[in-house]
């Protein structure tokens, strides 16, 4: 076992972790621990843009962005935090540009912006260009740029180290335990502040846009220490995943004028969101697609639809919508412009579908995409661990693993990249500030005790179960029963299945008993995390007897503000049972009203 001491430890090297590290390292001795080489992080796969009301292409205001986010969240987002994020967004995006991020440009040389789902001019209700983009590689550029700036600023990195436990002493964070993947050696990182930026857990579901690495590690290691999770029932399904594979096709395709078409050749979103149609919020569109497919309106009756961005289709519907270019001329796209604005989408479609999106429509289906819930924090990234928002000293979370909550029941497109940079920055600042005034907590007498016992169980398991069979069963059941549409009955049976799978999980033998890159052992540990999170998600969802945002129930189809305008807090108790409590939503200016797009 090796010991290290840093004032601030950041776990995860995606956008939030790197932003936190950049800021924390200005004043505190900081290290980043990541199970992937930093540029492999999932932030890199984000495509369409980062939201900020720069107003480069047309009139826009951060207050409009705030309202759109509140409405997008189906009124479950905390409005003070959303105001903070949308206000900070403008400066945060300029800051990325100052770091060298290669944004696409307007003819005036400013950062280019495109329309996105749920982004509106609050006066007219029409779509507004707010998503700041670098072609369809915005996440890639953010990840690369932040990593490069960390290199420039000599941030310490521990790459390919899997953090497997959080150390909590005297009710405060004291560090983490990590396994060095190359050697399986245990490392103890003693710290004053721990920032968790470990991302989401979309690998719980079968059709997913999420990386293999998205296994909810941060949530799993935190909740074992009696820290609650917030709003775990809310998980976003993105409307446009590549059929069967789930690979993301950015909302930017629809921002550029692409439309969803059903098997009858109809632009069906006209019926579900008469004003903004294909640019409604993601939950609204995913549900509409589900209903179309269920009604037999899939392409050739199959369970997929078309996303059509052929120039003739784009131009036809742009004319019908009366869409104009910024200079007032009619909106017209050529094949070349589509390739220039969406080069990776064209590449994905050609590679994985054998389809050229300039001449053929793309088969798509909704795909598991984003974790709205997570570790409860305030707007400074401090973990708040009960219904009174009591701060846990030294523990911070930022990015997808955190629940501020700025996304509420459904995240607005482009707000994930925004969340990373705004709350990554502020958690880094706060963590460093805390480290200046606080002392190190003593380490536990045997800091790796829990980790060793956990991995002994994994190494010594006996039985004939197979990791792929358990994970595949979890994913299909969660997709069918705790996916886009839910019922009490379906979720009850899913809950029973998850509990069975957690038992069967204990009987998966580990074939690789080696120390060098034992990926089988790590994958097994990750599956344990996913199973716990699947169960927690189901329990939270079963309890919430309403439909709100991404949580849609056939048996409770209406939003119920009287009983359910509140956040779920869920604790895993030492005996494995789950306790649910609730805390109020922060409302400043925007009283809940019916959500129409």
């Amino acid at each position: 076992m090796k010991k290290h001491q840093f004032e601030v430890i950041v776990v995860g090297a995606g956008g939030a972790g790197l932003m936190a590290a950049l800021y924390a390292s200005k004043t505190a001795n900081t290290a980043v621990i990541s199970k992937l080489y930093p540029t492999r992080s999932h932030t890199g796969t984000a495509q369409g843009g980062v939201g900020a009301a720069l107003g480069n292409e047309e009139e826009d205001h951060w207050e409009w962005h705030t309202f759109d986010s509140v409405k997008g969240s189906d009124y479950l987002g905390d409005q003070d935090a959303i105001e903070f994020m949308c206000y900070e967004a403008v400066q945060a995006v300029y800051e990325l540009e100052h770091y060298g991020l290669p944004f696409s440009r307007t003819v005036e040389g400013k950062i280019a912006q495109r329309p996105f789902g749920g982004h509106t001019n609050n006066v007219t209700g029409n779509p507004v260009r707010r998503a700041c983009y670098a072609a369809d590689r915005t996440g890639h550029m953010i990840l690369q740029t932040l990593y490069q700036q960390c290199l420039k600023n000599n941030v310490n990195f521990f790459d390919e180290f899997q953090v497997v436990d959080l150390l909590v002493v005297n009710g405060a964070a004291a560090g983490v335990v990590a396994i060095e993947l190359g050697t399986s050696e245990l490392h103890v990182f003693h710290a004053k502040s721990v920032i968790l930026a470990t991302g989401g857990h979309g690998r719980v579901w079968d059709i997913t846009s999420n990386a293999y690495a998205y296994t909810g590690d941060g949530i799993a290691i935190t909740m074992r220490h009696g820290i609650p999770m917030e709003d775990m029932e809310f998980f976003q399904f993105h409307p446009t995943g590549i059929y069967k594979l789930g690979i993301l096709i950015t909302e930017g395709v629809r921002g550029e004028g692409g439309v969803l078409i059903n098997g009858k050749g109809e632009r069906f979103m006209e019926r579900y969101a008469p004003r903004v149609k294909d640019l409604a919020s993601r939950d609204v569109i995913s549900r509409a697609m589900y209903l179309e497919i269920k009604a037999g309106n899939g392409i050739n009756g199959q369970n997929y639809l078309y996303l059509d961005v052929r120039p003739e289709t784009v131009n036809k519907y742009a004319a019908l919508d009366g869409r104009k270019r910024p200079d007032g001329t009619p909106y017209l796209m050529t094949g070349e412009e589509i390739i220039a604005k969406l080069p990776d989408i064209v590449d994905f479609a050609r590679t994985y579908l054998g389809v050229d999106p300039v001449v053929q429509p793309m088969p798509v289906q909704p795909t598991a995409h984003y974790t709205m819930g997570g570790i409860p924090t305030n707007k400074f990234g401090e973990a708040v661990i009960d219904e009174n928002n009591t701060v846990m000293p030294g523990l911070y979370a930022a990015g997808e693993v955190a629940c501020v909550s700025v996304h509420g029941a459904n995240r607005l497109g482009t707000n994930s990249l925004l969340d990373l940079i705004v709350f990554g920055k502020h958690s880094g600042l706060r963590a460093a500030e805390f480290a200046r005034s606080a002392d190190f907590q003593p380490l536990p007498a045997d800091p790796t005790e829990f980790t060793r016992s956990q991995f002994d169980l994994i190494r010594n398991a006996q039985g004939n179960e197979k990791i792929l069979e358990i994970s595949s069963k979890m994913k299909t059941v969660m997709m069918d029963c705790v996916g886009m549409f839910r019922t009490g009955e379906g979720m009850q049976s899913a809950l029973e299945t998850m509990r069975e799978l957690r038992e069967r999980y204990k009987h998966i033998p580990l074939h690789d008993q080696g120390k060098i890159f034992n990926t089988e052992m790590i994958n097994l540990w990750e599956l344990g995390n996913l199973l716990e999170i699947a169960e927690l998600t189901t329990v939270c969802a079963l309890a919430r007897t309403e439909s709100r945002g991404a949580h849609a129930r056939d048996d409770y189809p209406k939003r119920d503000d009287v009983n359910w305008l509140k956040h779920t807090l869920s604790w895993i108790k030492p005996d494995g049972s789950i306790e649910l409590r609730y805390k109020p939503v922060v409302i400043t200016k925007y009283q809940p009203k019916e959500r129409v797009y």
Binding site: G44, G100, A211, I516, E520
Partner: protein, 234 residues
Amino acid sequence: MQVKVKVFRFNPEIDKRPHYETYKLEAQPTDRVLDMLEYIKGYFDGTLSFRRSCAHGICGSDGMRINGRNHLACKALLKDLHSNHITVEPMLGLKVIKDLIVDMDQFFAHYKSVMPYFINDEPVPPQERLQSIEERERFDDTTKCILCACCTTSCPSFWASDQYLGPQAIVAAHRFIFDSRDKAAGERLKILNDQFGVYRCHTIYNCTECCPREIEITQAIGEIKAAIVTGRLR
């Protein structure tokens, strides 16, 4: 269809020398090589080790040699390999740690040596720095790099000497050298104007041919050679 997948295996804790294992499995034409490796790991041999994450060609984790050519395993579909005999091996020129996992330290050290970060110490404007569409386009191609190492480990000059910075590091430098906002092109050109810099490139084009991001790498290297010789960036 039935596929035979022959996989390079080496576990230094057990094996004296590397060997190959062949696995027979059923696969669909649209399956990725990564899907087959996952299947082999799940059903035949849990000890098989490889890196992977995003599974759609963006994170750059799963560069490997597939039927003799560097690919990302997640971007190589069975139908595009035109064979049901598939050989999977680690990338060349870097030490094999275990099975398909190679030691990337030297590769990343070269990347870090070219100052791969934006440098402009002038006071920042209150809003964005302006850049024309044409100026932005000038370095667009090299912004796409995902550090998968397919290029560098396909380069015979890198195989001959791992002191050579390799195509990836040059691509990384290019992205900043030709960015109108950056102020350190001269320093980077100095680094590249070295016996282990751009002149080790003998325009063999292996890098360009295998780049999963379709970056015109050899052209980028040529532009840097020209910039060193002429002292002009545009």
